[in-house]
Symmetry: C2
Subunit: 558 residues, 2 copies
């Protein structure tokens, strides 16, 4: 059986003009700024000016994933198209893909198979320029910081305590560790430095959590870029960079509207890392999507221990959102991996491994239902390599264990393959009542908050702070940053901080090695290990196979 690639499927789609999609999303044309024929930015004034009340919010998250991912974005899109097919008024709220990884191993990130958002080439490349704007704002702040030092350093910035890095939306390991400011006194101050990929910039997190232009500016001004010789934080506001950064972000802040392959309106906006940041699309796009659809389907990065945790404890808390239902995506492949099957063997049928992997799924479902107290359904996202026996087995097994489980075949069938899931989601929204509860409260100490996430969500025995992290916790508390939510940067491949502990490990402790504040974003970042914030390219980068013909048709994106 020959499958079409994602880009082939996407390019076969007869897209509707974006004005038609806007109309479908109840967006009056006065709020629409077209970016080409099939993309638009929507004026955020719409959120306040519409008569429509917010609709239901459905979060799509996943079990602990394989490196290839379990299809959260695909399921989000397919579920929305499924809801549309059963007659519901639906919008999607997704993250924008990062440009750099498109040229590495990963390929595109706009769904897959028959559940994609389009135009996929645009969305995966520059889209409407949001990430370039975020990169420019990030790098303007860096240039103003080093210029301040060059021009006399009135604020007394200690060049050994600069925390702000430059960024580029490219997988470029050569820039991870640099010494810049070389070449003599006219050319800056020699110092150790480094670049992050743009999505790792705190500006991305700020941008995604901002509720308005005024809130964006307030957050930008609070960003800490360095510390003085006497250890006082220096902010973007101190450098008078806020206004110019906000000007650079003015258009980017407007949510983007595109469509799914089946013409469902999709708000695709923002895309922070899911480890050092909270991993969800922008608050403004989510709010807009909820006003414009009776049902809004959204997603969060990595597995539910990271993505859903941050969506619920950080984003929903800051934005005052309450999801009406949560979909946990599971796959036969990932369950077999958690059952001990070697990653290279995941395409082989193995019912025993499949069964052994189920505890991973159970813990994620338990977290959603019993910690966050939200209605929940498991969607088994069928992959082409899954056998009928495996699919039948896992569905039956889950139901025996009392897990509400539905098969999803959206990758192969689009919205049609998401209808069963859609019906169950509607039932959850209409019949089940959640009692949304955070996994910790903000007034707890930093350690208490980390302890709560570790025990309640990861299922571990407790959290350990290294002596350095303990000292940082004390310092952050003294600076008044202890009442923020915590954003744990942890491997996505295990409930624990050890990527080799698959399934549902118990008795482990999580070690926090480094604690930082993202004062603009408004959360504390707890690093449990080295987190790579600048990827590299592989031996044979995807870029070598991308091309565009004389008519502008792009090939080789997948």
């Amino acid at each position: 059986m020959a499958y079409l690639t994602d880009i082939e499927i996407a390019q076969q789609c007869e897209m509707k003009p974006i004005m038609e999609i806007a109309k479908k999303a109840h967006v009056d044309e006065k709020y629409v700024e077209q970016y080409g024929r099939y993309k638009a930015k929507i004026d955020p004034a719409l959120i306040d000016e519409t008569d429509r009340k917010p609709g239901k919010l459905i979060l799509v998250t996943a079990i602990t994933p394989t490196p290839a991912g379990e299809g959260k974005t695909t399921t989000t899109i397919g579920l929305a198209d499924g809801l549309s097919r059963i007659g519901k008024d639906v919008t999607v709220a997704l993250r924008e893909p990062s440009l750099g990884p498109v040229f590495g191993v990963k390929g595109g990130a706009a769904g897959g198979g028959y559940a994609q958002v389009v135009p996929m080439e645009d969305i995966n490349l520059h889209f409407t320029g949001d990430f370039h704007a975020i990169g420019a704002a990030n790098n303007l702040l860096a240039a103003m910081l080093d210029n301040h030092i060059q021009q006399g350093n009135a604020l007394g910035i200690d060049v050994k305590k600069i925390t702000w890095k430059r960024c580029v939306d490219m997988n470029d390991r050569q820039l991870r560790f640099v010494v810049d400011g070389l070449g003599g006194k006219a050319n800056g101050t020699p110092r150790e430095d480094g670049f992050d990929i743009t999505v790792a910039s705190e500006i991305m997190a700020v941008f995604c959590l901002a509720s308005s232009m005024a809130d964006l500016k307030a957050r930008l001004s609070r960003i800490i870029v360095a510390y003085t010789y006497d250890d006082k934080p220096v902010t973007a506001g101190d450098l008078k960079a806020t206004g110019a950064m906000a000007a650079l972000l003015r258009d980017a802040l407007k949510p983007n509207l595109v469509q799914t392959l089946e013409g469902t309106p999709a708000f695709v906006h923002g895309g922070p890392f899911a480890n050092i940041a909270h991993g969800c699309n922008s608050v403004m796009a989510t709010r807009m999507a909820m006003r414009m659809g009776d049902y809004t389907v959204t997603e969060a990065g990595f597995g539910a221990d990271l993505g859903a945790e941050k969506f619920l404890d950080i984003k929903c808390r800051m934005a005052g959102l309450t999801p009406d239902a949560v979909v946990v995506v599971g796959t036969v492949r990932a369950l077999k991996m958690h059952g001990g099957l070697d990653k290279k063997q995941l395409a082989n049928e193995d019912l025993a491994a499949l069964e052994r992997g189920i505890p991973n799924l159970l813990r994620h479902v338990n977290n959603i239902k019993n910690v966050y107290q939200l209605p929940c359904v498991v969607a088994i996202n069928r992959f082409p390599t899954d056998t009928d026996a495996e699919i039948d087995f896992i569905i039956r097994k889950c139901r025996e264990l009392g897990v509400n489980t539905v098969l999803s075949t959206v990758w192969a069938e689009g919205g049609k393959g998401g209808e069963d899931l859609a019906r169950e989601v509607v039932r959850l929204c209409e019949e089940e009542q959640g009692n949304f509860t955070f996994s910790y409260e903000l007034d707890a100490t930093i350690e208490e908050k980390l302890e709560a996430v570790t025990k309640k969500i990861y299922g571990g025995a407790g959290v350990v702070l290294t002596p350095a992290a303990k000292k940082q916790a004390e310092r952050l508390t003294a600076l008044g940053f202890d009442k923020m939510p915590v954003c744990v940067a942890k491997t996505q491949y295990s409930f624990s901080d050890d990527p080799s502990l698959l399934g549902a490990p118990e008795g482990f402790t999580v070690t926090v090695r480094n604690l930082k504040v993202s004062a603009g974003a408004g959360f504390l970042v707890a690093l449990t290990g080295e987190i790579m914030t600048m990827p590299g390219l592989p031996k044979s980068p995807a870029a070598e196979r991308i091309d565009v013909d004389d008519n502008g048709k792009i090939r080789g994106l997948f």
Copy 2:
């Protein structure tokens, strides 16, 4: 008398919807991709598919400028609006401003006073994202180059002979000289490196000289990024980067359409440096503008010795264009400077200095009329500080000397102030016949070409190559790159390579210290001194005064 700032004037303008401007430019809506309400990209297929024949082409250039510039862009826009007012069918073809300098000293670069292109905030900030795309293509190539070395270096690239730099569209001196690839063997190869501002990237020059997507790809593939241990050039094509770079540039390659304050269609596209590159807007935009208007007004960077020389000897030669008339912009301020008045005194009336400065103007006019053999008019661009006596004197003096001279007051009056100039330009186009001749032919040797430009255009005694440059000339000739046009990187403040030699110096030699090939762009770059390809921010950057209010209105751009 209180003047409004440029942004205040621009924001008072009631812009017409871009579809209306497209219609005025005879562009069928099927070629138009809107980017917001007042910007669009136009499908280049229009150039081949339109029935319209190319119209007249008018180049606006200038005498040797003061650091503040003499108002070429302003005159270009005002002349176009003037042509429109006297009933002509007109388009403008301009460069896009660079983002970085907006935050430094310079402010905006979209004209001034009542002769601007709008929306000026958009044009000065991200516009339609072209420069971000160029930066991304540049940095993808850099990442692929370093990744190739990291992954085994099959091409045998000598890390000491890498010529390709990364870029960022920001004034950031801290990045001029860096060592990157630090941090151990997983993180690249330690080497000396540096960043340029995006407009200095060869991709910008390639982009602006490309006549089609196919030509763009051919040029991209020829870009030399490094040399091997045995001194063979390594190209972007060798790194298999061409297709992915072209994909990144696909949308950027489409010319942008905006409008002047008076509603004249303006194609604003591309913007290479005028020293290490050729300093003109894109060939594709110029061609499109010429098809869509009976008259197209365009400009080239710096004074006529640099901008017009490169426009004529490089761009027009490569694109097969012949201008119908040339406007040389002169100002009272610049002429007084050339007459020996201190730069700080330029606002003071000084008829004697004014008269002493005229030889500078005469040489530029002579070059246009007698070297390039093109019809020419001098436009005296009135500044608010000019006295009536000065204006009367310079116009009278020029006419006495047989110089065809017209007063232009477009900064204060918009198109109305450009009507006289417009009438004279129409007369030149209709009544005078040029005999366009290059200042050198391509089959001359590198030294002969440099000698020709120095003697014929600069008025110098000859060119001197340093021993290093001589060796480079031999090597470039051996590599087969000697049949290209030469792009001289020289100070814009003098006909000579010494910025302190004002007026019309004679007897000087020009010293070429460094010769390089921009194989993708298709020209040789002759450096006569250190050219700064990464600006810095001043003590009090303009960025500190830029802001955006809660409704998205930007302030402080000027």
